[in-house]
Symmetry: C2
Subunit: 79 residues, 2 copies
């Protein structure tokens, strides 16, 4: 069993409206933060070994989970 | 400048309807995955040093970003 994470973030050139809303809320509440971006984290569990799972996770992230026009993704090894 | 991530995932006992929808879509498309969970990833940038930023990030995650009834969070160091 292999567990991998896919971290998907809005591209830096894209206005991240969720991130901006969270940032403003935190600043209004006197929390000491400079900048916020909001993305997704998707955990995938595979029966394959790590090498095969990494290939499959990349395919899934590219084809289904992310929109390359507005997002970038990164595969993260877990455990 | 310190950059930290807050990874927020649904608790295991909670039905993760987004994760289930993604899992079923992947399986219907012959993608080789066993289980999927969908969470959030929030990047926070601080002017403070790492120790102070870690304390502030934990406070922000607990008070604003996560709902402890249905979610768990984890602070992730970046860069």
């Amino acid at each position: 069993m292999t567990k991998l994470g896919v971290k998907i973030m809005p591209r830096k050139v894209i206005l991240d409206s969720q991130g901006r809303a969270v940032e403003q809320t935190l600043k209004l509440n006197q929390m000491n933060v400079q900048h916020v971006r909001v993305g997704k984290f998707i955990e995938l569990e595979f029966q394959q070994n790590k090498n095969d799972a990494l290939i499959e996770a990349r395919r899934i992230a590219e084809k289904v989970l992310s929109n390359p026009l507005i997002e970038t993704f990164e595969i993260v090894e877990m455990e």
